[in-house]
Amino acid sequence: MNRATVVKLASVSAAVAILIALPYLISSYYVSLISIVFISAILASSINMLAGDANLVSLGHAGIAAAAGYGLAWAARQGFDLGGQLAVAGIMTVITSVVYGLISMRTRGIFFLMVTLAAGMVCYGIAFRWSSVTGGDNGLTGISRPPGLAEYWQFYFFVLAIFVIVTIALVITSRSPFGLAMRGIRDSETRMRSLGYNVANYKFVAVFLSGVVAGIAGVLAVWQFEFISPSAGGFDRSAMVMVMVIIGGIGTLFGPLLGATLVVSIEQVLSTYVDRWPMILGALFIAVVIFAPQGLDGGIRQLAAWFRRRRSPKDSPITGTSRDVPKQSTSTHQ
């Protein structure tokens, strides 16, 4: 265990300690906001996993989250108990993820993006139009949180815990042979095919797994707001989440969280003072894509590395595992 790992661990523990202490320090409004940040970060993580390891950027994952959310909300309105509600949410997640997987498994790059965009908007459209089941534009209200999570701070701890668990699960998946295969596919599909890998199947599984994470985010969102409406699955939401991933840094560990924090702050807090916040967000997004493709996470690492280099010029900034080096999408992918 070297010094760098200790520092990393210490800072993560400190951050976790602060996060746990938050409800005792700030008002309920801000704690709720942070819950929203974490829920968005979970959804962003689902996209991040696909984007980083497989170079598949989805513009429609909010649709899967919404499908899970509607499943839960509908079941709650029908009077199912908690187990039943979660079962319905689970079924919806599986069905939607499978459909997403099936239509996208033979695509890549921008085609994948377009297909997921279309799929997401169709989810929105169904939520909007099948109003006898989904309530249409009004959505479904009056969904209460499970017992034990009813208070805002209880729910906050729950969301925090889920976020940590999901992040770790995603890291484990990424470091597994499966993750390795995905990165191989990202680097060269033809090579992997010639090695005997069924590329389409791998992509299907990857999309499915990311869909499961998106479904978790969807369920949490319904519990956070205690209602759901079609906008949960619309293009705006999907675009916002993708913006979080990009600004945070594609494929990085903390990218989703950093991006979610920035975007939610702008969406919820800046919007109180500035009317034209979407323009600001859009401009920021463009700037990041063009000038800082490694996003906030990469930017922070570069800063940290620069600090380290200044203090001891002999240490190379290249430490840590390959997972931590920020990835840039280069031009020669097929």
Binding site: S28, Y29, L160, I165, I172, F225, F227, S271, T321
Partner: protein, 434 residues
């Protein structure tokens, strides 16, 4: 080399697993220790605002797809305080505006902010039904009164609660019952209906269909269209081939309303079939958009810009003088709400919040309000006049609605017994009356 890499990876994994356990354990332990929550209070926790300032939290959609309505609402609200000053009795009325971004999630967060950060004494708005239902249940938990601006039936029916008072609009089905009566009185025996396919449209259609069939008519065909339909030509064709004596059309006041009018004009429907609309196809925003093809179009609503009710006329003139456009019903609803609030505070000796505020407003004499002669029923909805109106072109070229027929004291329950009525499910695609 490989061994070292494996070893450090295992350590890292183990450390991470430890971290999870730590977080989980802490979370469980802490779930027993509640922080000094500020959410449950009626907003008067800690730094309470001065007792002479009455703070209003205004929730309107300033961005997003109904941003135009948000502007109307804000203008109506501002006009009142400009005309009358912000002093209401002992209290100085301060308004804090938040943007719901036409979204229920954002609306809910902003409502939370208004209560816990700005410590507002009442929340006015929002206008969208989904935002309103979500915000309403939060405010009920927080103990803050809500002066609602939305037409969702259940806000004053099945989801009624003593903290919500509908001051800015009538209930959805309430606004169309008189239309059904009128249609029958005109001699029409059969009607086809075209309504937007979510709660607002269901309620509007339910109102018309119930009243029409009660009076003796038959609702022969019910068409529903999705709220985001871009192309209304299909539905116009359907109405044409329905063979009914007349059509009742309930649109949502967005592009669907203008699309409907233009398609109906293009396809000759406006000339070939008598049509009665709900509020929204002839609301000011739509009239300003579609122009002269709307002349002569009939609708049923609680507001007509060209009415000769004195209080309404005064409001319309004043609004037009300040903003250069004729006010929409959204602007009017906010103006009326401001008026009610100011009147309730005028004679109050101490600050009215929560149910005290609601009761004080309900007790007011509102016979001379901008709506005309209204009063509140015990479900917190207004009972008041409605009109069947048609669009006319004024001498200066602008379009507005003038009154054909008036109906007084229209209640959200029409002629039904409230208790019996509430036993039925809410209006929906499958239930539009009997």
């Amino acid at each position: 080399m490989k061994g070292t890499a494996m070893h450090s990876r295992n350590t890292a994994l183990r450390l991470r697993a430890g971290a999870v356990a730590l977080v989980a354990a802490t979370a469980l332990a802490l779930s027993g220790c509640a922080p000094s929550g500020d959410l449950a209070a009626d907003g008067s926790n800690g730094a309470a605002t001065s007792s002479d300032t009455f703070t209003v939290g205004l929730l309107t959609p300033m961005t997003g797809f109904v941003a135009a309505v948000g502007t109307d609402m804000q203008q109506g609200w501002d006009l009142y305080w400009e005309e009358n000053g912000t002093q209401a009795g002992k209290f100085k009325v301060k308004t804090v505006m938040e943007d719901t971004a036409s979204s229920a999630d954002t609306g809910l967060s902003k409502a939370q902010r208004l209560v816990t950060e700005e410590h507002v004494d009442v929340v006015v708005g929002p206008v969208l039904a989904n935002v309103s239902l979500a915000v309403g249940s939060y405010l009920a938990k927080a103990g803050v009164a809500n002066l609602a601006q939305t037409a969702a039936d259940d806000l004053t029916q099945r989801s009624q609660n003593p903290l919500v008072l509908r001051t800015g609009a009538y209930a959805g089905s309430q606004t169309t019952y008189p239309g059904g009566q009128w249609a029958h009185d005109q001699g029409y025996k059969t009607a086809a209906t075209l309504c937007v396919d979510y709660a607002f449209g269901w309620e509007n259609c339910g109102g018309f269909a119930s009243a029409f069939t009660d009076a003796g008519g038959t609702d022969t065909q019910q068409y529903w269209y999705p709220a985001d339909a871009t192309d209304m030509s299909t539905y116009v064709s359907q109405l044409k081939s329905s063979g009914a004596d007349m059509a009742f059309v309930a649109t949502a006041g967005g592009p669907d309303s203008s699309n409907f009018l233009r398609s109906a004009s293009d396809f000759g429907l406006l000339k070939s079939m008598p049509i009665l609309n709900n509020c929204c196809a002839t609301d000011q925003a739509i009239l300003q958009d579609v122009g002269d093809i709307a002349v002569g179009v009939k609708s049923v609503h609680y507001y007509a810009e060209g009415t000769d009710v004195a209080a309404t006329q005064k409001f319309v003139k004043s609004f037009e003088a300040k903003y250069g456009v004729i006010p929409s019903s959204y602007a009017m609803g906010m103006y009326a709400t401001a008026d009610m609030l100011a009147k309730a505070l005028k004679d109050a000796s101490k600050k009215l919040t929560g149910t005290a505020l609601v009761d004080a407003i309900k007790a007011l004499d509102l016979s001379d309000s901008v709506y005309g002669n209204v009063k509140f029923d015990e479900y917190n909805d207004m009972v008041g006049p409605m009109v069947v109106r048609h669009v006319e072109k004024r001498a200066d070229g602008k379009l507005w609605n003038v009154v054909d027929e008036s109906y007084d004291d229209v209640s959200q329950f029409w002629s039904y017994d409230p208790a019996e009525f509430l036993k039925h499910p809410s209006y929906s695609q499958s239930f539009t009356g009997k």
